[in-house]
Point group: C3
Chain length 362, copies 3
C-alpha cells in the first residue's frame, strides 16, 4: 500500500487502471469498484454504506491512514498476504502489511523488477545472464513465488522455449548499452531468460494475463497465447498461475483444466466487476478444476482494495454455492469443501504455506 | 427507416443482419429479435403480445406505414434521434424521423459514404485529399458526430497513425482510377485519412466494432484492434465511441475504463439479444465507467427496431439496477443517477446536445 | 463408449480433456462435470445423489458395465444417436450403442480418420487424391454427416478455397512418404481436400471448434477463423455445423445468424459447464436462430456422459424457457416450439432423420 496519506484526488485515481484524469463530467467513483468501496468500507469507519465519496474521504483523513488501514485489513479476513514487491512507489513492505493486518505475509518476486535491479548493478553485459540467474536463485530461497508482467512488456506471444545463451548475451548487450536508470525491461529474449530461470527453481510462477493498465495491449495479454510456453515448461514441473485474465478468464480456466501444472487466479477481475463479481467467478468456475482456482485481491495502493476484493470474492462464491446447493445441483458438504479449497487450501498447497489452525476466516 | 411500405417478406429480412433467405425450414422471426418484436409491438397496434407474425403484418398493412411508425416511435420514449445518414436505400431523413416521433434529431455523418460522394464529384485524384478534408470540415458544422465502418471495409487492424500526404495521394489515384459508380471505399490509407480528418474536428467519432452483416470478418471487428489508434489519436482530444462490440463488448468496456477519450455504446447487441439484453448490458456495466456507457438502438429500416431497442435496453437496465439495490450492493439514489447517465445524460454531454426539461422519458 | 469395464482410475480420467494425471492434491471428480455425474447418475444405480466417487464406482463394478450402460442410456431420453466413429480405442459401434439404449443410431464419419485408413491402403501417393474422394463418396451413402477435427490438426486458419490438384498430389506425396502406421493427418492441404470432397456430397459437415484436448491450440479453434471457408463453401449448399465452440460459442452463434448454411451445436460445452450449463446455453441462444441450434452431448467413453449431457442440456433449456415465459418475454407456445426445435426437430431436419412418433422424450 501507499505509505503516505493518500490525498482525496489521488484516492480516486487508485480506483482505476487508467493513467489519466477521468473524462470531463465523469468520476472514477462512478465505476463498479468505486461503488463497491462505498458499499463495504464506510461502515468500518463508522459511516453508512454508500455515503458520498467526500464524506468518506473526510472521515478517512480524520481517522488517519494507520487506523484506517488496520480496520480495513483486519476486517478483510485475509490471514496470509502474498505480496508482489516489484511495484514502483513508496509502498509498505509485506511485513508492515502483515503487522497492520494482524496476519502474516510472504513475498512474490517480480522477475522484471529483479532483472532491472541486477542491471543497475551489472554494467558489463557479459556478466548479466549469470547475475540474473543468480538473483533468481537467491530470491527463491525466501520468496513463495515469482511473478512476471511479460504481458505488459513484450506481450504473451513470445517464443515458448528457453533462449540460447548467445541470444541472451547479445540481448543483454543491447539492453545494458541503451539503458538509462529507470528504463524498463521489455526485451522478450531477456524476459524468457528470466521465466526459464524461475521455472528451474520449482517455485510457482505467476503470469499477468488479461486486463491491466493502459500500457498493456489487451489482445497480447490473452492467456491462450501462453499455450506454447505452457507446453514447453511442463516437463520442469513448475506450476504456472494465470492471474486476472479478464475478459479471457474462461480461457484461463480451460488451460487450468487441460494442463496439470496450470492454475487460475482471477484476482483483479473481481474487484473491478463489483456487484458483477459473482458472474465473473461463476464463469471461472465453469472449466477450472476446483482444486486449481485461487483467490486473490490484486489489491495495491489502498487498504480499501483488500477489503473489497475479499468481500466481493467470498460474497460471490457464497451466493453461487448457496444457489447451487438450493437447486440440488451440488451437495452442501461439497460446496463447503470447494469454498475451503478456493479461498485458502489451494493457495496453501500450491505456495507451500503452513496450515492455519481451524478457525472461521471471517 | 425504409420510406416505402415494407412487404411482409422484406419485413422478416430486416430483422437479421444476414443477406440471404433463411435456411430451409427456419424463419427470421425465430430469433431473439423476432420474439422481442412480437412481444413489444403488437399491443401498440391493438393486438395481443406474441401474436403470430402473419397477423401482426396484416394489421401493420391495415394501419399503414405512417401510422405504425408514429405509434411505435412515440412509444419508444426516445426524444433525440442521432441518425447515421450514410446508409444506402430510400430512407427517411433525420428530420422526417423526428417529426414522426414528436422529438428532435441530429445527424451522424458516415465518413466512408462522405468520401464516396466526394469521389463521385472529384475526377482528379490529386484533388481528392483536400476535397475529402474539406467535406469532413463542412460536415462538422452541422453534424453531432462522425461514424466509421472501417471494421467492414478494411478491418480494425489498420495502421494507427495518420497516413503521409504522399501515401494518400497515391491511394486516391489508385481508387479513383479503378472506381466505378457505387464502388465502396475499402482502402485503409484513405480510411485512415478520413479518421484523422474527423479527429481534427473535435466531434465524437463513432466506430463500428463487433457483430454486423456478413460483409464483416468479425475477428477484424474486435475493438481491441483499435488500441494503437486509440493511443495515437488521444492527444487530439477526439472522443471515440465504440459501437455494438458484441461478442467483444467486455473488451470495449475495458477500453472505456482505460482511456479517457473512449466511450462504449452497445446499441445493436441489445436488440439482437432480446430477452438476454440484461445479460449483455450487465457485462458492459462491469468495466465501463458509468459516465461512459451510452444507449442506442442501432435501429434501421423498421420503426419496430427503435421501440424494441429502447424497451429492451431500459427494461434490462431497470431490472439490473432494481436487483442491485434490493441486494444492498447499490443505493437507490446511485442507481437512479446511473440510469439517467446511461439513458440520456452521457449522450447529451458527449454529443453536446441541448438539455431536456426535466420530465419522465417514458 | 469404451467396451471393456472401466477401472476406477481410468473413470476419472474420462471426465476431463486433460491427458495427464490430476495435479497433486486434486481430483478430476472436483470439476463441474464430476459434480454433475455425481448428481445425476447415482440414483439410476440405486444410490443417493452426490454420493462419494468411491461408492459410485464400487456400485458400478457390482452392477457390471452392461447393466450400467443400459440404465444410463435409457434414462437419457436420447432416441437417435449420431456417433462419430473416427475415435481411436476399443469403442462400441453405433449399432451396439443403439441396442443398449433401446433407440436407433447413425454414423458420422470423421474425415481425418477416413483419410488415414485410405493412406494405410494406398501406398502410391499418386493414387491417394482419387482414393480419398472415392472413400468420402462411398461413406456418404450410409453416413448422416461428416466431421472434421481440422482445429486440432492444422488449426481453423486454413486457406478457404479448395486446393489445386497439383498441390494435393504433392502434399499426398510428402505425407505418404514420411508416414508410419498411426501417423495422423495434419497437412492443411490434404484436410482442405477432404473438406471440399465432403462439401460436394451435400451431407452436413460438422467442424470441431473451441475447447478440446491439450493437442489443441484453443486460439486456432476460434470458429470465426472459419469465416473465409464458410463464405467459400456457401455456393455448394453444404450445411456446416460448428460444434462446441466454448469459450467462443457466442461467435459460433453469430455465424449461424449471418450465414444460411451455418448451424451451431454447443455439445461438449454443456457437460463440462455442469451447473453452469444454463449460462452457456443462454449465451448460445442470444444470436443463434432457434431453427439452427442443435443439441448434442459429445459423450464418449462413458455412458454417464450421455445421461449427464442430456440432463444438463434439457434442464438448462427448461429453466431458461420457464423463466422467459414467466417474465412475459416469451409465450408458452413459442417456448414449447423452440424446445422441440432445439432438442430434436432441427437435427431431424438437418440430418434428414426419419420423424419420431409423437411421445415424451423423457
Amino acid at each position: 500500500m501507499v505509505r503516505t496519506t493518500v490525498a482525496p484526488g489521488a484516492f480516486a485515481a487508485l480506483l482505476t487502471e487508467s493513467d489519466a484524469p477521468p473524462a470531463p463530467g465523469t468520476s472514477f467513483f462512478d465505476t463498479q469498484l468505486g461503488f463497491a468501496v462505498r458499499r463495504w468500507c464506510p461502515p468500518l469507519l463508522g459511516l453508512l454504506p454508500h455515503c458520498p465519496p467526500e464524506r468518506y474521504l473526510a472521515r478517512r483523513a480524520e481517522l488517519g491512514a494507520g487506523e484506517v488501514t488496520r480496520r480495513l485489513l483486519r476486517a478483510s479476513g485475509i490471514r496470509t498476504f502474498l505480496v508482489d514487491t516489484g511495484l514502483p512507489g513508496d509502498l509498505t513492505t509485506p511485513g508492515e502489511l502483515a503487522e497492520a493486518a494482524g496476519g502474516d505475509a510472504a513475498e512474490v518476486v517480480r522477475l522484471e523488477s529483479l532483472a532491472e535491479r541486477v542491471a543497475d548493478h551489472t554494467p558489463a553485459a557479459g556478466a548479466y545472464p549469470e547475475a540474473a540467474v543468480d538473483a533468481v536463485r537467491r530470491a527463491a530461497r525466501t520468496a513463495v513465488a515469482f511473478k512476471s508482467v511479460a504481458a505488459y512488456r513484450c506481450g504473451l506471444d513470445f517464443a515458448p522455449g528457453p533462449p540460447a545463451p548467445a541470444e541472451v548475451r547479445s540481448a543483454a548487450g543491447r539492453w545494458l548499452t541503451a539503458r538509462r536508470p529507470g528504463t524498463r525491461l521489455t526485451d522478450p529474449v531477456l524476459i524468457r531468460h528470466l521465466l526459464w530461470a524461475a521455472a528451474g527453481t520449482g517455485l510457482p510462477l505467476q503470469l499477468h494475463t488479461g486486463f491491466g493498465d493502459p500500457d498493456l495491449d489487451l489482445r497480447r495479454g490473452d492467456p491462450l497465447l501462453l499455450t506454447g510456453f505452457i507446453r514447453a515448461v511442463r516437463h520442469t514441473g513448475c506450476p504456472l498461475v494465470l492471474l486476472h485474465g479478464y475478459p479471457y478468464h474462461r480461457s484461463a480456466a480451460c488451460l487450468a483444466q487441460l494442463y496439470p501444472h496450470v492454475y487460475a487466479d482471477i484476482g483483479l477481475a473481481v474487484g473491478h466487476a463489483g456487484v458483477r463479481a459473482a458472474a465473473v467467478v461463476a464463469e471461472a468456475l465453469e472449466l477450472a478444476p476446483f482444486g486449481k482456482l485461487l483467490f486473490s485481491t490484486d489489491a495495491y495502493g489502498l487498504p480499501e482494495l483488500y477489503l473489497v476484493g475479499a468481500r466481493l470474492f467470498t460474497g460471490a462464491l457464497s451466493a453461487l454455492l448457496e444457489r447451487w446447493v438450493a437447486e440440488g445441483a451440488w451437495s452442501a458438504p461439497d460446496a463447503a469443501r470447494v469454498a475451503a479449497l478456493v479461498c485458502a487450501d489451494n493457495a496453501r498447497r500450491l505456495y507451500r504455506l503452513s496450515p492455519v489452525p481451524p478457525a472461521s476466516p471471517g
